[in-house]
């Protein structure tokens, strides 16, 4: 840029600033590719919808990188107004009281009606505190569901399994005979651990799953989940399932290529699958073990939430509140749901999608939200554990070792329990 155009640009922006006096806020997010474009579109729509405020979305890398950048910026007093924080990092942000302004307070203080019951059941409390006050605004929310290749199921003459027992005895052997690897999954800590506990309504941590205080202990070393991993390892060994590594894509690609018949992924994967695969596919609820429960419960959300960072002026907070209000409006939520596959977070947006016939056109798009709206249980609202990113790393490591036969299921779970509790104790110590 030459000095002259730069000067011109500076002069213009000065004039523009003087003319409108917009309050500008920043939004750090981790949405790349198609998702990032949708985020930019939402921001542009918000800016066009009114002339008091303007929002600037900034892509900061992966979820972990965004959180780290946000923390570093906060410590330097340069934090953005809105920061996107993923599920595993939520405990870190929520525990740091004073780092964020609870969205519930932010919206009420700025004159917007807030009723937590407007949000769909599985979304409501995941980013809330122990008293049920919403701290972070759920943004891209998804839940693990079972996708299936319709051609594969037809070839094998089976339907998608409802329970793991059915999968083990009926679905998987038939799919294997039809020449498919019956199943793969993309995130064992999320799908086979956190949501395993929720789907079977099992307690995941002491202190009310960690919501009541940082000095919680993880309750992972339980017979139900050990049996599940013993079964899964058995399936992998006998060709009833495939394990392709820790990475998300490693396990999704064989399904997209039509080698694997069924894949456990995110309800938010829907939009991508529509574009990638060339076979008819649909989805169903996450299977459960009938031997563990006959009344399976809902799962909770994964994904990320938007947090309003503290230390901002009242005008900027008003702008943030206005943006949250815009973001949760029916039309924006429906548009987000349609283009990405993430669930709409409010009941009203869900009703809009239903009324518009979205689910008649794409039945699979509704599975996630149906699962989040199933009957709730005592242990289905979520979990809150500090240093949880590292705890997930420990799980991934031990699960990987189970799969390669380097360790036994018993030793792996004993290890996870010990190391996770050590991390939780360390985190509790930082909260003094």
């Amino acid at each position: 840029m030459t000095a002259r155009t730069f000067a011109l640009g500076a002069a213009l922006s000065f004039v523009a600033g003087a003319a409108f006096a917009e309050t500008e806020i920043t939004w750090w997010h981790a949405m790349s590719g198609q998702l990032g474009e949708t985020v930019n579109q939402i921001a542009a729509d918000f800016n066009a919808s009114q002339d008091e405020y303007s929002i600037v979305p900034v892509f900061k890398g992966t979820y972990e990188e965004t959180l780290t950048a946000g923390i570093a910026a906060f410590r330097a007093g340069e934090q953005p107004n809105i920061m996107q924080v993923f599920d595993a990092g939520a405990a870190t942000v929520i525990a740091a009281q004073g780092a964020t302004v609870p969205v519930q307070d932010l919206l009420s203080d700025n004159g917007y009606d807030f009723d937590i019951n407007d949000y769909i059941a599985g979304v409501r409390y995941f980013y809330a505190d122990a008293d049920g006050k919403m701290i972070g605004m759920p943004f891209n929310s998804s839940t693990p569901i079972l996708y299936y290749n319709q051609d594969a199921l037809d070839a094998a003459g089976v339907t998608a399994p409802v329970t793991w027992e059915e999968f083990q005895t009926v679905t998987a052997p038939a799919l294997k005979d039809a020449g498919y690897t019956p199943l793969s999954q993309s995130h064992m800590p999320w799908i086979f651990t956190e949501n395993f506990f929720s789907r079977h309504n099992l307690q995941f941590a002491t202190n009310n799953n960690g919501y009541d205080g940082a000095d919680a202990q993880i309750l992972i070393n339980q017979p139900e989940i050990r049996d599940h991993f013993t079964a899964f390892k058995g399936w992998v060994d006998t060709g009833l399932a495939g394990y392709y590594g820790t990475g998300w894509g490693d396990n999704a690609t064989p399904f997209e290529n039509g080698e694997v018949a069924m894949w456990l992924g995110s309800s938010g994967s829907f939009g991508g699958l529509v574009q990638k695969v060339d076979f008819p596919f649909s989805a169903t609820l996450l299977p459960y073990w009938e031997g563990v429960t006959t009344q399976p419960t809902q799962t909770f959300i994964g994904g990320a939430a938007l947090f309003a960072m503290s230390g901002k002026s009242a005008e900027e907070n008003a702008a943030t509140a206005a943006f949250f209000s815009f973001l949760t409006s029916e039309d924006v939520q429906y548009q987000w749901h349609q283009s990405t596959g993430y669930v709409p977070i409010t009941n009203a947006a869900y009703d809009t999608a239903k009324a518009d016939g979205h689910y008649d056109r794409f039945p699979a798009a509704e599975v996630g939200i149906q699962q989040l709206s199933l009957e709730a249980g005592e242990w289905t609202r979520g979990y809150r554990m500090g240093f949880y990113v590292q705890i997930r790393d420990v799980m991934n490591r031990e699960y990987g070792r189970i799969m390669t036969g380097e360790t036994s299921v018993e030793d792996a779970f004993a290890n996870i329990e010990t190391e996770a509790n050590a991390l939780l104790a360390r985190f509790a110590q930082t909260q003094n």
Binding site: E64, I71, A99, G245, T246, Q390, G400, M403, T404, R426
Partner: protein, 293 residues
């Protein structure tokens, strides 16, 4: 004769100031900060900070996982150093004898040097990819089920292969120039005394290469310990799972991904001590015994 000197005794310090301030701001200050943080357990957002003494260190040394990573780093460093030095020496000794098209050979062997570590890592990822890696196909041809990302050893192999491939050209350049500086007269004299070129190499050329060799040994150890970060990162893609990682990568995983500032500072202090020890070893022991001519 008049001694040249500064008019004011402060002048030299003033002239050194820019350099010194850069060193202080970018090296000493962060290093001291790391040492300080390593004795604390800190809330990521900086609200609470508890002095815990040596607990962060004690916790590392009692962690079987940290020890496992340390053992892997040791094996990794030894293998990468030995293989990249050995291969480079072999290539340099052979290239030194090439008469026709020598510069073409040399250029072909050197160009890899210009590749950035993440790009090298990416090439390694492609080469050993689970689904379409040429190496995976080759292993399958010999009946071995090579699955990078699932099997610990297979992933370790991919890392070592990539790290060695990236480092050989650097060593090659140094060894080649080292070989070319071996005096012709010595070589000719040796040729009269000894007909076996292998024995001539080990008794005459190799000792004369020792200064280059020891210099490369230290730089290769540092390379394997620290500069392979980009390669490890590209291969494990931020999620190590049950895959191998090096100590430097663990600092990143615990500190940047996991927000455990105290624990990861303690790890970086340990690495700092390691580098210090290596440097002392280089200056004290080796410089005394190796004569650079």
């Amino acid at each position: 004769m008049k001694r040249a000197g500064f008019a004011s005794p402060w002048m030299p310090f003033l002239l050194l100031l820019p350099q010194l301030s850069i060193i202080v701001v970018f090296f000493y200050w962060p290093a001291l900060e790391a040492i300080r943080t390593s004795f604390y357990l800190e809330d990521p957002f900086g609200f609470g900070s508890t002095f815990v003494g040596w607990e962060n260190y004690w916790q590392l040394f009692s962690s079987s996982e940290y020890m496992r990573v340390a053992r892997f780093t040791l094996v990794f460093t030894v293998l990468v150093t030995f293989l990249s030095l050995g291969l480079a020496l072999l290539l340099a000794a052979k290239a030194d004898k090439v008469i026709r098209g020598a510069s073409t050979y040399k250029t072909l062997l050197m160009w890899v040097y210009a590749i950035a570590p993440p790009v090298a890592g990416f090439l390694g990822v492609m080469f050993t990819h689970q689904r379409f890696g040429q190496f995976t196909d080759l292993a399958a041809f010999f009946g071995y089920d090579y699955v990078v990302g699932v099997n610990f050893n297979d992933t370790a192999f991919a890392m070592i292969l990539t790290a060695v491939w990236k480092q050989v050209p650097v060593n090659f350049i140094f060894f080649l120039s080292g070989l070319q500086s071996v005096p012709r007269a010595v070589q000719e004299a040796a040729m009269i005394d000894n007909r076996s070129s292998a024995s001539r190499f080990w008794t005459v050329t190799f000792p004369l290469l020792a200064p280059t060799g020891f210099f490369l040994l230290i730089t290769n150890i540092t390379y394997a310990l620290f500069d392979t970060f980009g390669i490890v990162d590209t291969i494990v893609r931020g999620e190590p799972g049950n895959n191998p990682m090096t100590l430097v990568y663990k600092v990143y995983v615990d500190g940047f991904r996991g927000s455990d500032l105290g624990g990861s500072s303690a790890q970086s202090v340990i690495l700092m001590v390691l580098v210090l020890a290596l440097t002392i070893f280089q200056f004290r022991l080796i410089d005394r015994r190796i004569h650079y001519t």
